[in-house]
Amino acid sequence: MSDNPFPLSKADLLEAYRKMKTIREFEERIHIEFSRGDIPGFVHLYAGEEAAAAGIMMHLDDRDRIASTHRGHGHCIAKGVDVKDMMAEIYGKANGACRGKGGSMHIADLSKGMMGANGILGAGSPLACGAALAAQKLGHGGIGLSFTGDGASNQGTFLESLNLAAVWNLPMIFVIENNGYAESTAREWGVAVDSYVDRAAGFGLPGITVDGTDFFAVYEAAGEIIKRAREGGGPALLECKMIRFYGHFEGDAQTYRGKGETENNRANHDCLKHFCARVTEAGVLTGAELKVVDDKIATLIDEAVTEAIAAPLPTAADLTTDVYVSY
C-alpha cells in the first residue's frame, strides 16, 4: 500500500466515507419509503450533495454549532445526530429526535451542535451568528456555521447576517450550497451575480468557491477558513457548487430538468463515486475496506426503518407539553 497523499488519515478518510455513504443510503431509502406512502409531510433529500456536508463537518466538533435548512438530513448525519433517532422522527414517532413533534424539516440535536433544520429560508444564518457570538463570549473556541441554498441566498436574513458577522468579527462560516436550483427555478434566474465570493466581498467577508462534489476540495477550503475563524480571524463564506440528485421535494415531477440531466449527474458527477475512485486509485483504501463500511450502513439503515416503523406513536398528552420550559 502506497503513501497517503491526502490531508486526512486513513481513519479519517473512512469516517468521511461513512458520513457520506450514510447520508446517501438514508436518503435513497427515504425516497423509496416515501413513494410507498409511509412517510408523511414534506421531505427534501440531500442525495448528491454529501461531499459538502462531510467535507465541512470533518473539521467540526460538538462545541461547533451549525444551522441547517429545509434540506437538513445530510447536515444532521454529518454532524453526528443519531440516524435511528432521525428516522423515527421522520416517521413521527415518540422516540424520534424531536419526539415526533418536528419531522424532517425540524430535526435538531443541540448536544451535537445541530441547531436545527429549518422550514424558513435564510433563518439559520442569524441563529448561527448567535452561536458564534456565544462561542466568542464564552471563549470555548467553537464556531457557528450556517448552510444556505443558492435560492435562499437572496433572503434578507442571510444578507444581514453577513454584515453582522463582519462587524462583530464573529467566528462564523457561511456555506452556500449552490445546487443550481431553487425549487424549479434556475439559480441564474434568481441571482444576478455569478459568484458568491463577490457577494461576500460586498459585506467585507473573504469568500471561496469550490466544487462541492469534490470532497477533498471542500475539506481543504473549509479547513482553512474554519481554522482562521477559530483563531479569531473572523467570518468567511464558502460556496459549494453541487448537484441535487432528486427533485426539490419528494413528489416533484422535475419537468424543469434538461433531458438526461439526472442520469448524467448520477453517472458523471456523483461525489461518492468520485471519492471512492480517488481513495482506491491512490491505494489508501481498498474496495474491501469500503465494503465493510457499506455493509454496516446498510444494516443501520435497515434497522432504522424497521425500528421506526415499529416504534410507538406519541400520545394525546404529548400535544400540549414542551411549549414552555416552565408554565
Binding site: 409531510g41 424558513i120 429560508l121 435564510g122 439559480r187 422535475q254 424543469y256 404529548d318
Partner: protein, 336 residues
C-alpha cells in the same frame, strides 16, 4: 353555466379572468410559473401546488417568478399597487410572513391613513394557511388573527370554490390591500362554480346551515368540520345554524348577532391558536353587543396554545374536531 370546480381551479380561473379583463393585473410569486432559466419545461410548476399552472401560456410576462426574497417582491407588489398596477402576490405559505411582515402591516395597511386618504393600494396577497398535511410547525399555521388585528387590511378566508372565485375577483378589484387565505387542505374540494366572472361583496357572512338551537360561527376549513358536527348533533335533535364568515375583516356582525338572537347560543370555532383569536374576537363582540340574547355561556373551540405538531396523531388532535365542536354545542344546550 356552472361546472364542478375545485378551489384550486377556482383560483386559477379568477386570476385568468381578471388578467384578461384588466391589463394592470399582474401575478407574482415563487415558482408560480416555474422552470425559469432551467433547461426543461416552462411553466413547470404553476406554484408549489400547481394553482397557477397554465396562466403563463396565456398571460406571459404578467406572470412573474420572483427571487426568494419575500420582503422585496411583496414590497414591490405593494409599491406597484400605489403606482397603477393591481398586483396579486403569492406568499407560498402564510408561515413565511415573518420575513416580510413590515411591508404588509406597516406599509400597505397604513398608507391610506398615514397619507390622509391620498393613497390607495389595490394589492392582493394570496397565501396558504392551515394544518392537516403533516407539514409541521412552520408550514401549517393559520395566523388569521394577526392580520385581522391590523387596521387597514381586508382579510378573506373562503371555505368553498364558489366563494373563492367570487371573493378573489372582488379582492383584485377592491382598492384596499387584501390578504387572501387559502386553506391547503381544501384545495381539491369541488362545488358548482359559474363560468362567468362574478364578485362576492366583503363583509357578508354566509349561513351555510340554518338551525334554531345554537349558532356556530367559523370560517375556512372549520366550516366543514362544523357541518359534520351539526350533522352528528341533528341526530340528537340539536339543530345548529352555521355562519361562514367568508371575510374576517370586515366582519359581518349583523348576521352573527341576528343568528344568536334566534338561537341564544354561540359557539365560535377557529383553527387558529386560542389567545387573541378570531374565536375570542367574535365571542367577545357578541357578548358585548347581544348579551341579553345569550341563554348560556358562549363556547370557543380552537387549536390548543401550542405550535402545530408534526406527527399525524398529534396533528389530528391539534385540529378542532367535529366531536369537540359537538361537545361544545351540547354544553351550551345543556346549561340553559
Amino acid at each position: 353555466m356552472a361546472r364542478r370546480l375545485s378551489i384550486k381551479a377556482a383560483i386559477n380561473e379568477a386570476l385568468d379572468q381578471e388578467m384578461a379583463r384588466d391589463p394592470t393585473v399582474i401575478v407574482m410569486g415563487e415558482d408560480i410559473v416555474g422552470g425559469a432559466g432551467a433547461p426543461g419545461e416552462d411553466d413547470a410548476w404553476g406554484g408549489a401546488q400547481g394553482v397557477t399552472k397554465g396562466l403563463f401560456a396565456k398571460h406571459g410576462d404578467r406572470m412573474m417568478d420572483t427571487p426568494l426574497s419575500e420582503s422585496a417582491y411583496v414590497g414591490a407588489a405593494i409599491g406597484a399597487a400605489t403606482c397603477g398596477l393591481r398586483p396579486v402576490a403569492e406568499l407560498m405559505f402564510v408561515d413565511f410572513v415573518g420575513v416580510c411582515f413590515d411591508q404588509i402591516f406597516n406599509q400597505a395597511a397604513k398608507f391610506r391613513y398615514m397619507f390622509g386618504g391620498k393613497a390607495q393600494t389595490p394589492v392582493v396577497i394570496r397565501t396558504m394557511v392551515g394544518a392537516g398535511t403533516r407539514a409541521a410547525a412552520q408550514h401549517s399555521q393559520m395566523l388569521t388573527p394577526i392580520f385581522t388585528h391590523i387596521p387597514g387590511l381586508k382579510v378573506v378566508c373562503p371555505s368553498n370554490a364558489y366563494d373563492t372565485k367570487g371573493l378573489l375577483i372582488q379582492s383584485i378589484r377592491d382598492n384596499d390591500p387584501v390578504i387572501f387565505f387559502e386553506h391547503k387542505a381544501l384545495y381539491g374540494l369541488e362545488v358548482d362554480v359559474p363560468e362567468e366572472s362574478y364578485t362576492i361583496p366583503f363583509g357578508e357572512a354566509n349561513i351555510v346551515r340554518e338551525g334554531t338551537d345554537a349558532t356556530i360561527v367559523t370560517y375556512g376549513m372549520m366550516v366543514h368540520v362544523a357541518i359534520e358536527a351539526a350533522e352528528m348533533l341533528a341526530k340528537d335533535g340539536i339543530d345548529c345554524e352555521i355562519v361562514d364568515l367568508r371575510t374576517l375583516s370586515p366582519l359581518d356582525m349583523d348576521t352573527i348577532v341576528e343568528s344568536v338572537e334566534t338561537t341564544g347560543r354561540l359557539i365560535c370555532v377557529d383553527e387558529a391558536n386560542p389567545r387573541c383569536s378570531i374565536a375570542s374576537d367574535i365571542c367577545a363582540s357578541v357578548c358585548q353587543e347581544a348579551f341579553g340574547a345569550l341563554k348560556a355561556a358562549p363556547q370557543m373551540v380552537t387549536a390548543p396554545h401550542t405550535p402545530v405538531p408534526f406527527s399525524g396523531i398529534l396533528e389530528d388532535l391539534y385540529i378542532p374536531s367535529a366531536e369537540r365542536i359537538a361537545e361544545a354545542v351540547r354544553k351550551t344546550v345543556k346549561s340553559s
